[in-house]
C-alpha cells in the first residue's frame, strides 16, 4: 500500500486528472465566452474587400523608395533605442530582483501595454521620438528584468560559492552572468524582434514608423502600397536574425541614436499639470468639500457601470476564446514544423509559413480583418489566434523534434494521437499558460481599433481628454494582467509544469 512506486503512480494519475480538468475548464470558459460574444460579420459583402486585398498582395507597389527607406529606418531606430534602454534598465532591475518590491515594480511596468504607455507619454511629451522610445523601453525593461532575474536564479551556484567574496558585482560578472549568457542572448534577440513589431504598432497611434503609413494606406484602401509595406516588415524581421552580429551591435546603437535622437520638447508645466490635475479623478480636482466623498463614489460607480465592467467583461471574453482557439490552431499546425510528420523540404516550407505568420503583429492583423469583417469581436479573435497559434506551433514543432520514436512506431493520425501529443501535452500547456497573459494584454489593447475592450474606453477617454478616466482604466487593465500572470504561475506550479522562463 505504502510502496513509494504506488505513491508515485497515484501522484502521476492525480496530475493527469488535474491536467484534464484544467483543459476542460479552459474549454468551458471559452464556450461560455462564445455564447456571450458578439461575432457578427457587419460588413454586408466581406469577400469583395477580401478580393481587393488579395489583388493588392499580389501586386505590391512602392510609391517612393526614398520614403520607404526613411520609414524603415525610423522603425528600426525606435526598436533599437527602446531595446538599448530596456536592456540597461532591465539588467539593473534584475540585479535587485531578490527584493519583493522590485519584482512588484517589474510586474507593474510590464502589465501596462506599450501602446498605453505611448498614449500616456504622448500626453506629457508630445508626439516626440522620446515618447516612442520610452513607451517601448519601460514595459520591455519589466519583462527583461523578470526573465534575466529568473535566468540568474537558475544558474549553478557552485562557481560563485568557491570565491572569497561571493556577493560582489565582480563575482556576478565572472560567474552568474557567463553562466546565464546563452539563454539571455537568445531571449534578448527574440525581444528585439518583438520590439520591432511594437515599433510598427506605435505608428498606428501616430508615431512616424511603418505602422503609421500602413494604417493610412489600409484605411484608404491602397492595398498595393500597403502590401509593399507589409513585405518590408516581414523582410525586416527575417533579416534581423542575420544582421545581429556582435561587432555590428554598437554601430547599430550609435546609428539609431544619431539618426533619431530620443528628444522631446519637455514642458515642465505640462508634466506637472499631468500629474497634479489631469489624472486626478474629476470630483477631487476642486479640492475636498463636504460632498466630495459622495461625488467621488458616484463618479466611480458610473465609470464602473459604463466602462470598466463592460471593458473588463469583453476583454475576458475575447481572451478566453482566443486562448482556446490559439491552442487548437497550435495543436493542428505544429506538425508543419515536426520531423515526425513532414519531410525535410516541406518542414522548411511549413515552418516558414509559421514564422511569417508570427512576424505580423496582432494589432495589424486585427486591423486588416476589421476592414472586411467590420467591427465585432471576430477580428480580434482571429488576429490573436493566428499570431499566437503560429508562435506556439513553431515552438511545439521544434520541441517535438527532440522526441525519439521506435523504428516501428505507427504513422499518420495514430502517431499524432498516441505517440506525439501525449508526450507534448505538458509542454504545450506550460507554453499556453505563458501566452495567457500576453493574449490578455493584447485583447485589452485591440480595443483601440473599436472593439469594446478596455483599450476602447481608454482610447475614447484620451480622445475626450478625460485623463483621470484613462489612468484608472489603464490601472484596471494592469491589475487584470498581474492577476492573470499570478494565476498562470499558480497553475503551472500546481500542474508541475516547467516554470523556467519562456526562452525562444
Amino acid at each position: 500500500m505504502s510502496q513509494p512506486g504506488t505513491n508515485q503512480r497515484t501522484a502521476q494519475l492525480d496530475s493527469y486528472g488535474q491536467i484534464r480538468r484544467t483543459t476542460f475548464w479552459f474549454a468551458a470558459a471559452a464556450l461560455v465566452g462564445l455564447l456571450l460574444a458578439d461575432l457578427d460579420i457587419v460588413n454586408a459583402n466581406p469577400w469583395t474587400e477580401f478580393a481587393r486585398m488579395g489583388q493588392g498582395l499580389l501586386h505590391p507597389e512602392v510609391s517612393s523608395w526614398g520614403e520607404l527607406l526613411e520609414w524603415t529606418a525610423k522603425t528600426l531606430a525606435f526598436a533599437v533605442e527602446g531595446m538599448t534602454l530596456a536592456i540597461a534598465l532591465g539588467m539593473l532591475l534584475a540585479l535587485l530582483y531578490r527584493h519583493w518590491w522590485i519584482r512588484a515594480l517589474c510586474a507593474f511596468l510590464r502589465a501596462i501595454h506599450e501602446l498605453f504607455w505611448a498614449l500616456l507619454f504622448i500626453q506629457c511629451l508630445g508626439l516626440s521620438p522620446l515618447s516612442g522610445v520610452l513607451a517601448l523601453a519601460i514595459p520591455y525593461a519589466g519583462t527583461l528584468a523578470k526573465i534575466y532575474g529568473e535566468l540568474f536564479d537558475e544558474t549553478d551556484p557552485l562557481p560563485r560559492s568557491t570565491l572569497l567574496q561571493p556577493n560582489g558585482l565582480s563575482a556576478f560578472l565572472f560567474t552568474t552572468l557567463p553562466l546565464a549568457w546563452k539563454p539571455l542572448l537568445t531571449y534578448t534577440s527574440y525581444r528585439l524582434e518583438c520590439a520591432l513589431r511594437s515599433s510598427i504598432v506605435l505608428g498606428f497611434i501616430g508615431l512616424p514608423t511603418l505602422g503609421y503609413h500602413l494604417e493610412s494606406t489600409l484605411r484608404e484602401g491602397y492595398y498595393a502600397q500597403a502590401a509593399a509595406l507589409l513585405y518590408t516588415l516581414i523582410l525586416m524581421v527575417i533579416a534581423l536574425k542575420y544582421a545581429l552580429q556582435k561587432f555590428l551591435l554598437p554601430i547599430y546603437v550609435l546609428l539609431a541614436f544619431w539618426y533619431l535622437p530620443p528628444v522631446a520638447e519637455v514642458k515642465p508645466e505640462f508634466i506637472l499639470r499631468f500629474f497634479t490635475q489631469d489624472i486626478v479623478p474629476a470630483p477631487l480636482q476642486g479640492g475636498w468639500q463636504a460632498d466630495t466623498g459622495s461625488r467621488l463614489w458616484q463618479w466611480l460607480q458610473l465609470l464602473w457601470q459604463q466602462q470598466m465592467w463592460p471593458g473588463l467583461a469583453n476583454t475576458l471574453i475575447i481572451s478566453q476564446i482566443a486562448l482556446v482557439s490559439t491552442a487548437v490552431l497550435a495543436l493542428l499546425a505544429f506538425p508543419l514544423n515536426s520531423p515526425h510528420f513532414t519531410g525535410r523540404a516541406s518542414r522548411i516550407l511549413g515552418d516558414s509559413l509559421l514564422v511569417v505568420l508570427r512576424t505580423i503583429p496582432e494589432y495589424l492583423l486585427a486591423f486588416v480583418v476589421l476592414l472586411f469583417v467590420g467591427p465585432s469581436m471576430l477580428p480580434a479573435i482571429i488576429a490573436l489566434t493566428l499570431h499566437n497559434g503560429a508562435i506556439l506551433a513553431h515552438l511545439l514543432g521544434g520541441f517535438s523534434a527532440e522526441i525519439c520514436l521506435r523504428a516501428d512506431a505507427c504513422r499518420g493520425i495514430n502517431r499524432y494521437a498516441y505517440e506525439i501529443l501525449p508526450r507534448l501535452y505538458r509542454h504545450f500547456l506550460a507554453l499556453l499558460l505563458y501566452r495567457w497573459e500576453v493574449i490578455m494584454r493584447e485583447s485589452a489593447i485591440l480595443g483601440i481599433l473599436g472593439i469594446a475592450t478596455l483599450g476602447f474606453y481608454v482610447d475614447s477617454a484620451f480622445e475626450e481628454f478625460r485623463l483621470d478616466r484613462a489612468a484608472l482604466l489603464i490601472l484596471t487593465s494592469a491589475l487584470l494582467n498581474i492577476g492573470i500572470d499570478n494565476l498562470a504561475r499558480h497553475l503551472r506550479r500546481r500542474l508541475h509544469l516547467s516554470t523556467t522562463p519562456e526562452t525562444l
Binding site: D156, L158, P159, S161, T162, L163, L164, Q165, G168, L169, S170, A171, L173, F174, T175, P178, L179, W181, K182
Partner: protein
C-alpha cells in the same frame, strides 16, 4: 592530546569542541573535538560518505577570509576560458572596473602571472581554451589553479587530485605545499596521504576515530577505516 602538541604555540586556526556537524540539517559528524594549528598539513581519510566534505565545509566557515578553497565538484564556469576561471580566484584583490576590463580585454600583467601558474600546472597551451572543452583531469587542474591564485595561507582541498595520475598528483600536491604552509586535504589514496601530510585524521560512521601524526599511523589502522 592537542594541548600536548601545542605547548607555547599560537591559538589554533580551527577549533571544534564536541560539535555536531550537519549537512542539509542531517547530522553527519558527531562530537567533533578537533584543533588544527598554523603550519600543519592534515589528511582526512575515510570511506566516501564518512563526512570528509562536511568537515571541510565547516573548516572553511571558521576561516572563510583566509582559505584557498578547492571543492570536489570543480565549480568552474564552462563558457569562460582557463585564464578567466583561474583569474576568478583573485577577483577580491581588484575593483569591479579592473575586473570588468580583465573580462573584456585582459591586460598583460594578470596574463603573465596566470601563464606562469599554468606552466606549473602542466596546462601551458590552454590559456584561452573554454573550460567546457577540457577533460576532467584538466578541469581539476584549473580548479587547483584558481585556488592557488586566491593566494591564501590555508589550503582546503576536497579530493583535489582524484582525477589525475600518480605522477601528476604528486607534483601538484607538492606545488600546493610550496604555496600553503597550512593544508587540510581530503584524500582517498591513503599512500598519498601518508606521503604528503604530517597528520592523519580518520573518519568512520560519523566519528573521528583516528587522529595522529602520519609517522605513527599503521597500515592496519588505516585499513580499519575502510571496513
Amino acid at each position: 592530546m592537542p594541548n600536548e602538541t601545542s605547548g607555547g604555540r599560537q591559538p589554533p586556526l580551527f577549533s571544534f569542541r564536541r560539535e555536531s556537524l550537519r549537512y542539509r540539517a542531517q547530522p553527519i559528524l558527531n562530537n567533533v573535538e578537533l584543533d588544527i594549528y598554523a603550519g600543519e598539513s592534515v589528511a582526512l581519510v575515510g570511506k566516501s560518505g564518512a563526512g570528509k566534505s562536511t568537515l571541510l565545509k565547516a573548516l572553511r566557515q571558521q576561516q572563510s577570509r583566509s582559505v584557498a578553497w578547492c571543492p570536489q565538484d570543480c565549480g568552474l564556469v564552462p563558457s569562460l576560458s582557463v585564464f578567466h576561471n583561474v583569474y576568478m580566484g583573485g577577483l577580491n584583490r581588484h575593483n569591479v572596473a579592473y575586473n570588468l576590463l580583465v573580462l573584456l580585454k585582459p591586460p598583460g600583467r594578470p596574463v603573465a602571472e596566470i601563464s606562469t601558474l599554468l606552466d606549473k600546472l602542466h596546462l601551458p597551451e590552454k590559456l584561452w581554451t573554454p573550460v567546457s572543452q577540457l577533460s576532467g583531469g584538466q578541469q581539476q587542474r584549473v580548479s587547483i589553479g584558481r585556488a592557488l591564485f586566491q593566494r591564501q595561507p590555508i589550503f582546503l582541498g576536497d579530493e583535489p587530485v582524484s582525477s589525475l595520475d600518480r605522477y601528476q598528483a604528486d607534483a601538484l600536491l607538492t606545488l600546493i605545499a610550496c604555496h600553503h604552509p597550512t593544508r587540510v586535504l581530503a584524500l582517498h589514496d591513503t599512500e598519498q596521504a601518508l606521503q604528503t601530510c604530517s597528520r592523519i585524521i580518520g573518519l568512520r560512521a560519523g566519528h573521528i576515530v583516528l587522529d595522529s601524526p602520519a609517522a605513527e599511523v599503521s597500515h592496519r589502522q588505516l585499513a580499519q577505516l575502510y571496513v
